[in-house]
Symmetry: C2
Subunit: 193 residues, 2 copies
DNA sequence: GCCTTGCTTGAGCGATCACTCAAGTTTAAA
DNA sequence: TTTAAACTTGAGTGATCGCTCAAGCAAGGC
C-alpha cells in the first residue's frame, strides 16, 4: 500500500449515523453527507459503496452501541436495575443533537415497503435488542425482583414497546419525557408480585 | 361556475392520505400521487396548491377520522371501555393496506427539523387526541372505573405513549400486536385501585 | 531521482424532483 | 348558438437526485 485514506472511517460512519438518525433515509442527500463528512463523491463511493450500504452500516453500529450501553449499565446494576436505568436514560436532554426516537424504529417506519432490505435489518436488530431485554428479565426473576409467573419474552416485548412509545413521545415538544420514563420504570417494580 | 371538477375532491384527499401514510412524506413523489389519484400535474396544483398543502390536509382528515372513530366507540361503551376498545382495535389486520403505525407519529419522526410546519401540525393533532383521552379517563373516574388519585392528563399521556409503541411494534413482522394490545388493555383495568 | 499504487478530485451522467403554464376542452349561462 | 369561465392536458422548467470516472496527486519501494 502506497497511500492511506486521509480520514478515520469509523469516525465518518458515526457522523453519518447521527445525520441519518436525525434526517432519515430519504431526508439525507448525498450532498448532505458530503458536507457533513467532508468527503467528495469519489472518495465516498470508494469508501462506502453506496448510500444504502452506508446506511446499513450505520444501523449496525447504532444497534451495537445500544447493546454496549446496556452492557455498561449491567455492570453497575442488577438485571432489573439495568432495565430501569435504561428507560430512565431516555429522560434527559438529547446528546449530540441526535434524535430521541430510536433510529431502528424511525428506519422501520420510514422505509417499510420501499427499501425492504433496510426494513428487515431494522426489524432484526430490534429483535436482537429484545432478546437482551428478555435475558435481563429472566435474570431478574432468578434474583427475585420479578415474579416467576411472568414470561420474560412477553415482558421484553412489552418493555420494548414502552421504550418505543417513550422515545417517540420525547420528540413531541410538549411532552415531559422524564415523567413518562419514571412511570415506565415504576411499572417494572410492580412486577415483583 | 361553468364547469365542475371531474373528480370527488374528498375522495382524492383520502386516497392521498393512504399513500402518504404508507410511504411517508419524502417517499411519495408527485408522480406517485398523479398515478394514484389519476390526476395530471395541472389539476393537482389547481386543486391542492402543493404537495405540502395536500399533506397537511391529509393529516387533518387523518386526525378527524381518528376522533370520529373514538366517538363511535364511545356510543357503544363506557369511558374506560372506549379506551380499551380503542387499543384493541389496533390488534387486527391492517385495513386498506394502510400502515399500522400512527400517521401523525410517522410524520413527526420523519420531518422533525426539516419541515417544521408539518411537525408542529402533527404534534398539535397528537395533543388534541390526548385531550380526548384525558376526558375519557376523567369520565372513567366519575364512573368509578378509575381510582380518584390518578391524574387524567398523566394517564392520557401514558396511554398515548403506549398506543404509539403498540402501533409501531405492529409494523414489525415478528410481533403479535394482538397480545400486546390485550396487555395494554388489561393495564387499564388495573387502574381501579 | 523514478515508478507504481491507490486515494482524491470535481465535472458531469441520466433520472427524477416539485412545479408551471400556454393551449385545448368542457360546460352553463345568455 | 355564441361566449366566457373553469377545468384538463402534457410538454417542459431549473434544480437536485444518486452515482461514475478519467485525470491529478501523494506516498512508500527501488
Amino acid at each position: 500500500m502506497v497511500r492511506t485514506a486521509s480520514f478515520d472511517r469509523d469516525d465518518l460512519v458515526t457522523r453519518a449515523r447521527d445525520l441519518f438518525w436525525r434526517q432519515g433515509w430519504a431526508g439525507t442527500s448525498l450532498k448532505d453527507l458530503e458536507l457533513t463528512l467532508g468527503v467528495r463523491p469519489g472518495s465516498f463511493y470508494a469508501a462506502f459503496g453506496s448510500k444504502d450500504a452506508l446506511y446499513a452500516e450505520t444501523l449496525d453500529i447504532y444497534a451495537a452501541d445500544g447493546a454496549k450501553r446496556l452492557d455498561g449499565l449491567a455492570k453497575e446494576n442488577g438485571p432489573l436495575g439495568t432495565l430501569k436505568a435504561h428507560v430512565l436514560s431516555f429522560a434527559g436532554s438529547r446528546p449530540f443533537g441526535a434524535a430521541h426516537a430510536c433510529m431502528l424504529v424511525k428506519t422501520l417506519l420510514e422505509v417499510q415497503g420501499r427499501q425492504g432490505d433496510l426494513a428487515k435489518q431494522a426489524s432484526r436488530l430490534l429483535e436482537e435488542m429484545e432478546i437482551r431485554f428478555a435475558a435481563l428479565f429472566s435474570a431478574a426473576q432468578i434474583a427475585g425482583d420479578v415474579a416467576k409467573h411472568h414470561d420474560p419474552a412477553r415482558l421484553a416485548r412489552r418493555y420494548q414497546s414502552d421504550l418505543i412509545g417513550l422515545r417517540a413521545s420525547a420528540e413531541r415538544p410538549d411532552v415531559d419525557a422524564a415523567e413518562l420514563a419514571r412511570e415506565i420504570a415504576a411499572g417494572l417494580d410492580a412486577l415483583q408480585n
